[in-house]
Symmetry: C2
Subunit: 244 residues, 2 copies
DNA sequence: CCCTACTCTGTACGTCATACGCAATTATTA
DNA sequence: TAATAATTGCGTATGACGTACAGAGTAGGG
């Protein structure tokens, strides 16, 4: 039986019920909520141990009774910031996974600081695992085996993340650099200006043809739909293929 | 015409050729190479302005004549660390994009610190754009329009990134937290222990069935292949669909 | 009632990014 | 050739940050 890392234990409320010493004035959820509020309001850079401690009315070092390090706090935040997954209802796998993936992307866009958080650990928190569970459940009628379903979900998550990253960086940038190059139009202009058609034939041709430049009728939503259908087509092709 | 951000200009050697003042003792490439060496050897955390400056034999503040901030340096690193894309030869689009995606993943796994790097900007460096160009080029015979090809490439990149992240975090972890939970086996054990079958029916069933636990015959490569074929199937379905 | 485990706090340390100003150096202009 | 202007490299300084450590107070177990 594997020993649980301390933070994981606290994420799942696996603390021993009775303990000595003064009763804790905080719990992990309070700290996490405060940290998330700061991140929502002022960005991830403002999430310092001092700021979080001030937000919950405690000295900075007190937080270390609940979290082993700032990194652990960020890990917990990355899980708690995720809302519950959508209800399945009696939707077939394909439309359910479509909204599932879209909502995953929307969460990332509504909390852009989640994009700056690179998970150094596979998901182990209750919220993200709940999302995973629902995706696997949606695929349970399809005849795919465990590994296939697991990876289908992984692929969809990855797509949501990629699309959110791209959309966000083309939209309202956060960094100074991104602020300078904000907007798909300006990005296209920069590329057009910098690319040598000899070494970048396909890309520069595409740019000169006006991709990303004339935004007439362009909706990022259509782009998302496109890639999503691509993935779902792939899954469908896999399902309707004879089992091996 | 869009003004180029200063670092972008330097990445593309768009500096005026003659300038006053002392001749620069460095250039951006030297600094970047040094920074990459440090990241390769000691990890991204060891890439501080002081360390990089020491590596090239200069005072820390001297670097700011070449880079506007540490963030910019990281951006440039993220581009320079990427090798040239594979040659197309006369491969059809599908096998070419298969190795293209696999190599993308391999690059990320051979330089894990690239995974920790948040791309806050769409790719604007010469190396990454070259990769993009080759993928677009491979799709040029397929009858897909510009937007479709662009997004197909995006999807493949995203998949490589997702898979590399997962593989890396299940393999040799970097963080303390990941070190504790290293290995797919132990990850599976943790999940099995922590999941309540009532709220996580699909996932806990899958775990009890032994996914991720008995690694007999399990190769991460097969997993990668699986997801990749899924995507390529999706693209293929799109190609053979009548144009709209 | 004392001991023991546990919580919170204040202080302190080392590191980091980077703002500012100065001296040295070179191309341009007079 | 001499003066000017631009630009580089460097030293110093600052404020913020993560966190190690030690002590004081608190509550349950014996």
């Amino acid at each position: 039986m594997a020993e649980l890392p301390p933070v994981v234990a606290r994420m799942w409320d696996r603390e021993p019920t009775t303990r000595r010493g003064p009763r804790p004035r905080l719990d992990l959820a309070t700290i996490t909520t405060a940290a998330i509020e700061i991140a929502d309001a002022e960005g991830l850079a403002a999430v310092s141990m001092s700021n979080v401690a001030a937000q919950v009315g405690v000295a900075p070092m007190a937080l270390y009774r609940y979290v082993g390090s700032k990194d652990e706090l960020l890990t917990v935040m990355a899980d708690s910031a995720v809302p519950p997954p959508p209800e399945r209802g009696n939707l077939p796998w394909r439309p359910y996974l479509a909204t599932w993936t879209r909502l995953t992307r929307d969460v990332l866009l509504s909390r852009p600081w989640l994009l700056e958080l690179r998970p150094s650990t596979p998901p182990m928190g209750p919220r993200r695992l709940l999302w995973l569970d629902r995706a696997l459940d949606a695929l349970s009628d399809t005849g795919l085996d465990d590994g296939q379903r697991f990876h289908a979900a992984t692929v969809l998550t990855g797509y949501a993340l990629t699309d959110a990253t791209l959309t966000h960086s083309l939209g309202a940038g956060g960094t100074e650099l991104a602020a300078r190059a904000k907007g798909a139009t300006e990005y296209g202009e920069i590329l057009t200006e910098v690319l040598d058609p000899a070494t970048y034939p396909a890309l520069s041709a595409m740019m000169r043809a006006g991709l990303l430049r004339d935004s007439t009728g362009w909706t990022e939503d259509a782009d998302f739909q496109f890639g999503l259908n691509l993935l779902l087509d792939g899954i469908e092709a896999l399902i309707s293929r004879p089992a091996r």
